[in-house]
């Protein structure tokens, strides 16, 4: 037995047939294209925002400088988006479970379709609905909260008389991002291999326990992905927030009064049409900040996902 040579082959092989190479090239190209588009957006944002960074504080709208201008918006954006996600994500998991594991099989698919319908509603309509239907409906509860739980900063009051509050906005956002989160999670739950569900049931697990043992671990990555999509949408939602939220105040945790911080995206929509000069640059700078926020939020989420990948696996 002669040792003629040792080859180490690791991972994908060195040789690629042409069709494979082309296919791989196309898919990689698509990925790179996305990076390019994103780089384009970033360059565009940076170039357009630059004057705002260099302009003297007095030229920035409100005359307090860039930080003073953007900070309440950042706060409002984070507050609205986080709360919306907190409301929507658990609900989405429950709904996905209902559709995949609780609803009678016959109507389950139809129910999925019904929830997808929520995604079909244009965001302006959500805005108008929030304004005309939801806001009035929150008057009684918020009034009650202000009267009885006023010591909690979130419900400090005084309660708005029109209901166009952060509270309403959060609910509208939550409803808006619900379908996308649900859809991603639902499809993953549907794919849970029967094998594992059977394994847990055979151990005498109740349906709830089966879900905890086999379904949730399997769908964990999808839950996070779906939530990230939802959060992204909540962070960037423009028209609905612009219409629903009475954005006339500064930084406050008070969810039920009419003075609320605006969100970055909504503020851009509100101010952009009539703005010119440095004001526009400032708005774009706030867009850049939103970009950065999304970046950071995603970094954190990635870190959370990656912490426990060793025990996940689909097959």
């Amino acid at each position: 037995m002669t040792k003629t040579g040792q080859n180490t082959v690791q991972g994908p092989s060195t040789y690629k047939r042409p069709a494979d190479r082309i296919f791989r090239g196309i898919t990689t190209g698509a990925g790179v294209l996305i990076l390019l588009v994103l780089a384009g957006v970033a360059v565009f944002l940076l170039a357009e925002a630059w004057p705002a960074f260099t302009a003297p504080a007095s030229e920035i709208p409100g005359e307090g400088g860039l930080v003073v201008y953007i900070w309440p918006l950042v706060f409002g954006t984070l507050l609205a988006a986080t709360l919306a996600l907190v409301v929507a994500a658990p609900l989405a998991v429950l709904i996905a479970l209902f559709i995949t594991h609780y609803a009678p099989r016959r109507i389950a698919q139809f129910l999925g379709y019904v929830i997808d319908l929520l995604a079909a509603v244009p965001s302006i309509i959500y805005g108008l609905w929030g304004f005309t239907v939801l806001a009035p409906a929150t008057l009684a509860p918020t009034g009650w909260l202000a009267d009885n739980l006023g010591f909690v900063p979130l419900f400090a009051g005084p309660a708005s008389t029109t209901g166009r509050t952060m509270f309403t906005t959060v609910l509208v956002l939550a409803v808006m991002i619900l379908p996308i989160i649900t859809a991603v999670i639902r499809e993953a739950f549907l794919q849970t291999p029967k094998l594992y569900e059977e394994a847990s049931l055979a151990l005498g697990a109740t349906r709830l326990e089966m879900i905890r043992m086999a379904v949730l671990p399997f769908g964990r990555s999808s839950i996070l992905s779906g939530s990230m999509l939802g959060l992204g949408r909540a962070l960037g939602e423009t028209m609905a927030v612009a219409i629903v939220l009475s954005a006339s105040g500064g930084v406050t945790f008070n969810l039920i009064s009419s003075g609320n911080p605006a969100t970055i995206a909504a503020n851009i929509a509100l101010e952009f049409p009539e703005s010119s000069g440095v004001a526009i640059d400032t708005l774009i700078a706030s867009g850049l900040v939103l970009f950065a926020i999304t970046l950071i939020v995603n970094m954190i989420a990635r870190a959370v996902i990656n912490r426990r990948t060793d025990l996940s696996g689909a097959s």
């Binding site: 996305i34 429950l94 409906a137 399997f218």
Partner: protein, 363 residues
């Protein structure tokens, strides 16, 4: 046949002592859920009436809460903690679903009741050219919406799907991690920024004032792509490796394995994702107004001239109505209703499409 001397390692807080010979331990009668529901309804009515007058939403919340608590406690005393948790969770899941339906029903009722007035032939056959006040239709906007979102879909789906494939099947190392990361970042781009970006891009390339359907489609693509990538990626990821191995072992090149085995297995999820992405952008207003503009006339050419879209049409009919405002508002709502109908039809199409490929699990 539990013997008092035998001490089993069952702690009292989890289950009543387990009688190994009996299969049916105490179990709730079949009417128990209904009885609990009735009880919960009575209980929930009290705070509702006292605190808020009578608000349906508040009552529903109280009802759900009382029911979950009630069924849990009752079941626990008879059936043990595990069973009780299971029952309670069933109740939670069901009420979560009902809760999610509430806004849906409310939105649909709002849109349909307000939009049905002008849901007539004129609306679908006339444009707004030469129309002041009442009358007119959204033909031009429907055409524009179909063209712009169609183009956006044509661009985003291949790009998004290819990227998802790259990420799952090929992606290793920095590039893949970079793409995953930035795709997530992309989901947070506010729609108006996407519109400004498309406008700036076209101004740069084709000179100032290039506002057309294609530019609008580009703006929509920026919003669509991350959703397509993310949802497809998840769906491709959960295709079992077993199947890939089986196909590879037949001497199939990777690209064919992906196209013929992986994608068909994931197609249901992917098409759901794509429909959601379409639904997301089809209702966008600000980016389309900036990048695609608006017009009262029908324009079939996405590469030249402004193009009206339903969402923009709806928004400006609502936002700057004339005198009297009613016909404008009616058009706005009908346009919204039309938009929803379009997305619903798309959704149905996507579903039947995925049924063609979906795993043949039911015979």
């Amino acid at each position: 046949m539990s013997t008092p001397t035998e001490t089993r390692p069952t702690s009292a807080d989890t289950e009543p002592p387990r009688d190994r010979t009996r299969l049916v331990r105490g179990s709730l009668p079949r009417w128990a859920p209904w009885a609990t529901l009735a009880g919960a309804a009575l209980l929930a009515a009290v705070p509702t009436v006292v605190a808020t007058g009578f608000s349906l939403i508040f009552f529903a919340l109280c009802l759900a809460l009382c029911y979950v608590a009630g069924i849990f406690l009752w079941s626990r005393s008879v059936e043990g903690t595990r069973k009780a948790a299971d029952r309670a969770f069933t109740a939670v899941v069901t009420s979560a679903f009902a809760l999610a339906l509430t806004p849906l029903v409310s939105v649909v009722i709002t849109v349909v009741s307000k939009g049905v007035q002008r849901f007539d032939t004129e609306f679908f056959t006339h444009s707004m050219r030469g129309v002041v006040g009442a009358g007119g239709g959204a033909y031009h906007a429907i055409v524009g919406t179909l063209i712009t979102s169609g183009l956006a879909t044509l661009m985003s789906v291949p790009i998004g799907l290819c990227t998802a494939i790259y990420l799952v099947e090929y992606g290793r190392g920095r590039l893949a991690r970079g793409i995953t990361f930035f795709v997530d970042v992309m989901t947070g781009i506010p729609s108006i920024v996407a519109g400004l970006f498309a406008y700036a891009l076209f101004t740069l390339v084709f000179g100032p004032g290039t506002v057309n359907g294609f530019s609008g489609a580009i703006a929509l693509s920026v919003l669509m792509i991350p959703i397509v990538v993310r949802s497809s990626e998840e769906m491709i990821k959960i295709v079992p490796d077993d199947l890939r191995e089986a196909a590879f072992a037949l001497g199939t090149p990777k690209w064919k394995v992906i196209l013929r085995v992986v994608l068909p297995t994931a197609v249901a999820g992917i098409s759901t994702g794509v429909t959601l992405a379409v639904a997301r952008v089809v209702g966008e207003t600000a980016p389309l107004l900036i990048a695609a503009g608006t017009t009262a006339s029908t324009n079939f050419n996405p590469f030249s001239g402004q193009m009206a879209t339903l969402s923009v049409f709806s928004y400006y009919e609502y936002a700057s109505p004339g005198v009297p405002p009613e016909p404008y508002l009616e058009r706005a709502w009908t346009a919204a209703l039309t938009l929803m109908a379009i997305v619903m039809v798309l959704n149905l199409l996507a579903r039947s499409f995925s049924l063609l490929f979906a795993p043949k699990t039911r015979s």
